[in-house]
Symmetry: C2
Subunit: 200 residues, 2 copies
Amino acid sequence: MNDKTDTRKQILDAAMNRIVHYGYGKTTMSEIASDCGMSAGNIYRFFASKLDIAEGMARKFNSELYQKYAEIARGSESPEKRLRNIFHYGLNQTFDKIEKDAKILEVAEVLGQERPLFFNEGLAQERIYLNQILEDGVAKGTFAPMEDPSFVSEMIQSALMKFRFPQLYSMLTLEKLERELNGVLDIIIAGLKHGVEKHP
Amino acid sequence: MNDKTDTRKQILDAAMNRIVHYGYGKTTMSEIASDCGMSAGNIYRFFASKLDIAEGMARKFNSELYQKYAEIARGSESPEKRLRNIFHYGLNQTFDKIEKDAKILEVAEVLGQERPLFFNEGLAQERIYLNQILEDGVAKGTFAPMEDPSFVSEMIQSALMKFRFPQLYSMLTLEKLERELNGVLDIIIAGLKHGVEKHP
DNA sequence: AGTCTGAATGATCAACGAATTCTTCAGCGC
DNA sequence: GCGCTGAAGAATTCGTTGATCATTCAGACT
């Protein structure tokens, strides 16, 4: 079983190396296979399709992100700070990744197109950490009590959507983006601190 | 001069009729011209390019929107309500337009691609009305004083970006969208009421 | 002179066969 | 039996070619 996992990892690594250099479309299964010293057909014993390799790449990136999110969420900083840190960390990671390997954008595009649900999965995972922070903030008295922290997390994600899609912000510098992210977070945190009245 | 304006309007109307039915790509300059009883070449005395016809369509849509925004902004409702109304009105108008003439999305896509600055123009215009409402709200004491209302307007636009691009929400119902818009507005308005502390 | 046309031009697009690529699977070697 | 290959099949992309279209402009018409 460990053998199988290793091979999977090997394929994923080989694929990543090619894809960050040549792009998803220009990388063929045969090339990945020969990099791994195997036949193209054999890849299909580890990945159901080429798309699943792309998804595997994204999943790896996300799981590293979530690990850090978990760390931030249960950290000792103020809830406000933790909220900021999560979104700043995500923005920075994404921005750096794209700056370093521009071709990775193609993977994001293909996944957004062909696996629209995958994206929601990530949002749901992120919401777990946001919920933790919100609930902790309420318990500590930093944030005003709220009816449904899960819904508030969703609204926060909605308000910060702009900072999630490189296609939406690719023409801006990281500096400008972070300033803008802080501006929106200022408003959100002010709202959370003093209590959100539901629209009648 | 009025003659020239009339012909322009005639061309724009003919173009709109064709484009909402067949789409931007499938509508040819010759078709528009023959609908107007003129040659294709003659259109170029009124529009510099086909893209400018698309821009003309969008500009017409926007100017109707802005007229309503101005009306809302200087209305007698509470600043909070006026803020909500502007974004709800914009969302509804856009949603209805797309539901009625799905082909109009192609125009939006082409413009976003080929005339990226045009969008900013619209945002800047909208911000004028947002500024009015914010300043009025501060004057009336509904909103806490703020250092730079213009920057706050920008941040509000940023937080509500998701509700501006049909491509981002096309799979959601109007009902769900409005509920979500209200949820984000709840947070924003809470923040505005109680004062936004700038991130250190 | 000022308007407009329609042909000319270059760019873009559609069609379609060829080539490449993804995916499957019968069978080979262990 | 298990793991893998490499060829076959299906799907997609590619490249070419012909057609269509946006755009220009010389000249006709008023």
